[in-house]
């Protein structure tokens, strides 16, 4: 199969998946009974409730209701958030910036550390560094992130007092403009060293917590694909022509080992995103995750469903992008299927 055909096929499946996800989300809003509860008050008579249900089309057949809802979503109407006391779309953007900043920082930690550790272990197969790295990666993926966050807080916030909680020092936050909503970028744009330091300071613990599990996954993948590449004939050939081991590793084996690792990095994006929920609760980070947790506890359906839709669309898009890049980098995938 040609890459172009593969691409077209993947792109054609995407709308089907999106419709599927939207049906699941819609079904979820109806499982918990009629959503009229949000608009009801105790003083209403049954007739008034009936009238309200009519106004919002809740007595229509379910498919009609689905299309009304989906049409609203497509026009950017995601409903009213009871927790934020505002339309969902209006609140979304500000919180999204906070979450994206955290997820990106965690992603950077995970990618840098994961590739370094994986290379380190893979090139020293079955020796002590390899075993230690294995212990690290298995522990990392068994770690409950909410507990890890609390342990870090106990040590670095309560006892040592090295790092703060929250996203910023309110006074410093207020001292600069926020055109992008990303604190680190905004502080650089404002040229404020103090604000930049404040941003990084607040990012350290949440980013490490959120990045841990992903670091473990990337490390593991990098190690195993490097081990695999080092067994290939071209590596022997490179060695035979007298290339120093360092260059064999850097120029040949590692480059190829990075291809499968790339996919894992891409897929871990969804993982990072869902991890923000607990990390934001514990570090009091004012992002989407914490909003979602509040919404879950207070039955704010519009917010929950908007979040599910958003993460799924993002997740699907990123996965698609990763698959396409992978198909270009490694032609065997396409030809093989």
């Amino acid at each position: 199969m040609q890459i172009r055909d593969y691409l077209i096929r993947r792109l054609m499946v995407l709308p089907i998946l999106l419709i599927g996800v939207s049906i699941i989300v819609f079904a979820l809003t109806r499982v918990g009974g009629s959503p009229i509860g949000i608009y009801m008050s105790h003083e209403m008579t049954p007739e008034e409730v009936e009238e309200l249900e009519d106004r919002y089309g809740l007595n229509d057949p379910l498919p009609v209701q689905y299309f009304a809802w989906a049409g609203g979503v497509l026009r950017g109407d995601l409903g009213w958030s009871g927790v934020a006391v505002a339309p969902v779309t209006q609140v979304f953007r500000g919180k999204l910036a906070a979450t994206m900043e955290l997820a990106t920082a965690a992603g950077l930690v995970a990618v840098t550390l994961g590739i370094t550790l994986g290379t380190f272990a893979g090139s020293r197969r079955d020796r002590l560094p390899d075993h230690l790295t294995r212990v690290f990666s298995v522990s990392g993926s068994s770690m409950p992130d909410f507990w890890f966050a609390i342990v870090l807080l106990i040590v670095f916030w309560v006892y040592l007092g090295w790092f703060p909680v929250g996203r910023s020092d309110p006074a410093i936050w207020a001292s600069i403009a926020h055109p992008t909503g990303l604190y680190t970028i905004d502080s650089l744009m404002a040229g404020s060293w103090q604000a930049f330091r404040d941003a990084i300071w607040h990012l350290v613990l949440p980013a490490i917590t959120l990045g841990l599990a992903t670091t473990a996954i990337i490390t593991r993948m990098m190690r195993s694909s490097l081990v695999e590449e080092l067994n290939e004939d071209y590596v022997d050939a490179a060695r035979a022509k007298g290339l120093p081991e360092r260059l064999v590793l850097k120029r040949h084996a590692r480059r190829n080992a990075l291809i499968p690792t790339m996919t894992v990095i891409g897929l871990s994006f969804g993982f990072l995103l869902q991890g923000t929920v607990v990390v934001e609760i514990i570090y009091q980070w004012p992002g989407l995750g914490r909003w979602l947790a509040d919404a879950v506890l207070r039955g704010d359906q519009a917010t929950i469903m908007a979040y599910v839709l958003f993460t799924s669309v993002l997740f699907l898009t990123v996965n698609l992008a990763v698959d396409i890049i992978y198909a270009y980098l490694d032609r065997r995938v396409v030809l093989g299927s």
Binding site: L17, G32, S139, P144, L273, Q274
Partner: protein, 307 residues
């Protein structure tokens, strides 16, 4: 005397196959136990299971519901080492040790129910798709793709939120989310196994489709499911505890995630124990199953041994 020689009864092939399978199981066990890391994981699992089973003997069960934390209002926030409370107490006077022990029972229930349910559903759906193929395969796999499009934790969180906060709803939510993985694995295996010659020969001697599936295809497709199920025994507890931590269980439940959440409020004033011990248990539980799952995979799937 009528000399009728009875033909020796031919052993039904099933018992022969059974012997082979039992022998193979023995080999796998021996090989798995050769890896010291796997043994460490296994020991932790045995200890956890023992703790869960012996919970009523190790503690005085709370009346009327032992899964609810007992409250000792005369001993709030006691540090570890207090007489009667070796691991300290919570801000509500709950004995941390009681929570740790009964939490293992809660986790055992959670993981066994969810894994059993998801493996069953996944096997049925995956078998239908892989063995029958065609349109059914196409439709079922699109459904699986849709389920996989929503990040697991977020999906489970949304379902549990809609159903309302309770531990049994967490179990239900996890079962709804996690079966897809098994459906995918089983389908892939079956499509692969179906092409084997012994399946063709079974067809030639006239076995029914269902018999071929049951005797030849399914048993040879199930191995990767075992590895995944072992890993999930740990992962399910991790995710379940996360949902509990967020607040989707009943308050006061003897569950590790709930305890970590309750203990969280005290950490700023130096009361580290109420969160630390239950959290450590979640970690050890997940770690143990990951170690054993890893070991099993190395033995059952030698291709990935180097990994």
């Amino acid at each position: 005397m009528a000399d009728i020689v009875q033909p020796r009864p031919v052993l039904p092939p099933a018992s022969g196959a059974l012997t082979v399978r039992l022998r193979r199981l023995g080999e796998v066990t021996v090989q798995t136990l050769r890896n010291p890391v796997t043994v460490i994981g296994l020991v932790i699992i045995v200890l956890m299971f023992a703790m869960a089973l012996l919970a009523p003997a190790l503690t005085t069960p709370n009346e009327p519901n032992p899964y609810q934390m007992p409250r000792d209002w005369t001993a709030l926030n006691e540090p570890p080492g207090t007489p009667g409370h070796p691991l300290g107490t919570t801000a509500h006077g709950g004995d941390v040790l009681y929570g740790v022990i009964w939490g293992s029972r809660t986790s055992l229930w959670l993981s066994i129910i969810v894994v059993a349910a998801t493996v069953t559903i996944g096997t049925i759906v995956g078998s239908l798709a892989g063995f029958i193929g065609g349109k059914i395969d196409e439709i079922l796999m699109r459904v699986v793709d849709v389920f996989l499009a929503i990040p697991e934790l977020i999906f489970a969180l949304a379902i549990a939120a809609v159903l309302g906060p309770s531990f049994s709803n967490i179990i239900l939510a996890l079962a709804i989310v996690y079966w897809v993985k098994y459906a995918r694995i089983i389908r892939g295996q079956i499509i692969h196994v179906k092409q084997n010659e012994y399946v063709d020969s079974a067809r030639v001697i006239g076995d029914t489709k269902f018999r071929i599936y049951l005797k030849d295809v399914l048993p040879n497709s199930i191995t990767p499911v075992m590895v995944q199920a072992t890993m999930d025994m740990g992962a399910i507890v991790l995710v379940g505890a996360t949902l509990s931590f967020i607040g989707l269980s009943e308050a006061g439940l003897a569950e590790w995630g709930v305890l970590v959440s309750e203990g969280q409020v005290g950490i700023s004033t130096g009361r580290w124990w109420a969160s630390t011990f239950p959290g450590l248990m979640i970690f050890l539980w997940a770690l143990a199953f990951n170690l054993v799952g890893d070991g099993l995979r190395d033995v059952l799937d030698p291709r990935t041994e180097s990994r």
